[in-house]
Amino acid sequence: MKLELRGITKRFGSFTANDSIDLVVEPGEIHALLGENGAGKSTLMNTLYGLYAPEEGEILIDDRPVAFSGPGDAVSAGIGMVHQHFMLVPVFTVAESVALGYEPTKSGALLDLGEARRKVTEISARFGFHIDPDAVIEDLPVGAQQRVEIIKALSRDAKILILDEPTAVLTPQETDELIEIMRQLKAGGTSIVFITHKLREVRAIADGITVIRRGKVVGEASPESSESELAGLMVGRDVHLTTDKTDADPGEATFSVRGLTVVDKSESVVVSDVSLDVRRGEILAIAGVDGNGQSELAEAIVGLVEPRSGTISLDGDDLAGLSVKERLRKGIGFVPEDRSTDGVIASFTISENMILDLYDQPPYAKGLSLQPAVVRSEAEEKVSEFDIRLTSIDDPISTLSGGNQQKVVLSRELGRPLRLLVASQPTRGLDVGSIEFVHKRIIAERDSGTPCVIVSTELDEVFNIADRIAVMYRGRIVGVVPADTPRDVLGLMMAGVPEDEALARVEDGSAATEISAAEEDPA
């Protein structure tokens, strides 16, 4: 089936998310839609899937124009979509999830779950998915949930499959499995639209590439293009994919975690017996696939969650029993994972957001009163120091872009003398320019002698800034490795393989991933 988008324009109020976009996907083609976060890729696909109505433009399937008033229409036209955030009901079984919306029934209105089970088993067997139709969604690992989404689409005879950032939640090995699945689908005649901002994967799998920037198509590229060519197209200028940094000059270990165990509300162990040392003037990156306990570890360090056992000490002082506020006073800077809910208060002004944790301290406060003049002058200073692009420091912070919001958070956390920096996903959702800036600031903080703990699920980021890398898997530290460890070894460790075994497997060549192979192609 051939898919063509002609002049699709979608506006949200005064903001144009898609500006007259053209796109052609040939039958049996894997077409990558490449663009930065916020470039308008997901909006375009949601429009194609009937979730949004476009203001202008038309969609053609096999050269015939079609109009979708909802996802139901798109599905019956043969379009299937795997959303970035899976559209699965956590308490349903796999069979129920696949049945939903297209329920097989028997004797009137009663569900025929047996039929749904058969369908799951049949598709699962055809592609080697190993999915149990009676498993409950929330008990499945993310990769399996993704396969359930693919089964859902295939069970409705999708001829065009849209995969929205499908690799964001996968380990490199799971990504390889997904790529294999995509090849099989392609061989079976299914066209695939593959949305991503990861250059390596695009080059590994795509037949054709369309690059989108700020809602517009800025060019077509072939998979043979080099990574820096693609990055340049995507960002609109030359970019340095790596940040220059000098080697670390670590001092003594001032921050240590011993036997830390954290248990969540449902009594499952999320951080398991973790021990770490971080030295002054080094960056320890905590790598791992999302949801393996990194966030909880960071929260336990700052005091947001109470550990079940273990100790955390900074400069020889045990932090047990100290409140979050007391820990911040001790010189811990914390960049939270979710900027919009934990990092800033959206309706507060930019200057107010800069003193969220310092509002009761001199010079911002005198006795019971706030010193607005000081708050303003300090804010203006930070704006120029951190190059925050804004109209006025009195505007609500929600008027800023993600990158500038993150700079506000950084200016707050780095604006005082620190004895430890903890940053969770410091560049999630940022554009390339902001990522460069954030990395530079973190490295500068390291160079001033602060021990830094950076949690990141992006391997590129980990390699970019880390001096040492600790890999977490299911709450445990799989190993702490030097920053020049091969990508494949790290990938295996992120799936729980111990360091020695991972090294051995990479050396004998049994574990080379396709995406790292793509990296080594001469560009």
């Binding site: 899937y49 909802g70 165990t261 398991s272 299911r474």
Partner: protein
Amino acid sequence: MSTSTETHILTTPGGGPTLRSPIDWKFPIVYGVLALVTLLLFGLFGGTGGKSTTFSFAAGTDLFGIPPLTVSAMATTVAVGIVLVAMAAVATWLAVKREKIGIWFPILFGVLFLFAFLTWAGAGNGHIPLTPLLAGALALSVPLIFGAMCGLVGERSGVINIAIEGQLLAGAFLAAVVASAVKNPYAGLIAAPFAGALVAVVLSFFAIRYWVDQIIIGVVLNVLVVGVTSFLFSTVLTQNPELWNARQALPVIPIPLLGDIPVLGPVLFRQSILVYIMYVVVAVLYVALFHSKWGLRTRAIGEHPKAADTVGIPVNRNRVINVLIAGAIAGLGGAFFTVGSGLAFGKEMSAGQGFIALAAMILGKWNPLGAVFAALLFGFARNLGNTLSTMGTPVPGDLLLMLPYIVTIFAVAGFVGRVRAPAANGKAYAKQ
């Protein structure tokens, strides 16, 4: 009351060190206190020396009679007290070992405790009429069960309905007025669902169409229905009560054979059609919710409406339909206050039962059968209070009447273990 003695040994993934969860002392303590109360307060120091208690079962038309059971009060309560102490010890031992106990344990404990309590309370006061006690409990539970089913259908599809109280009251009102005007109780029964559904129309209009906070709109609706019905009661209904508010009662329809089973027969199968409809509603809802296309979609829009939307299910339309169905169920339940009990309409006669119905729904973990069980428990506690206070037992009647509400507070506060509401409950769904 529940089995939430869930404790387990935590195993860390990958074979790390095992970590034991803290011992759950909640239930051993409750069992222990109740066992000691039984042994000491009802038994040894219950002041029942030499007195006896009689339980009567028969209701006259049974297939075969069961002779009344007379027991020596003190000996019985002490004996039961000892058994309960032993059970509490077992519960403690199992808690220390972090092992689970089946649902039968708290039920058995509760029944024994109740038996000891009744023996003590009834000592020297004639006999305890078991059949009327249970029959009264069911009667008081009927509006609760209808109300809980209403709340359940709404919340399973993601709409919180605080207006059950108002829907019950509206149903009671319209049933009384229509039945009286037409001089036929069945006419009232047909009219009642429309009153409940009318309240639901307003609820869904504001909650689903205009995203007004569902709690607020529900509270406002309750006050509105009280106001409207009270106003009409004091004006139209009191001016011409013969025409508008004459008593009409649904006749009792005994079911042959089933109705003659001792104790259970008169309680369950010598009832009006409204109670039989209730059995059907509960059974149909249970099957529909978990085994039908409607149920799958209802649960999906209550858990993850966007997921439902992406497979082409119109979320808000389904929510409106479900809220209307739910309203009709509650309206029908309201009819029990008037035509179902043979009473005329009175101001605010639903008396907070709609809120207790919500509690029954939560205690029943959003499952129709669980909600029925919880509603029966509340109904029984309330009827026990009524019965004992008329018998002149040593416990003040007002204190007993508080019992269901105390049970409710503990239940809703999560004492029965982690209860998970539908994930999208109370959240309006809007497409971008």
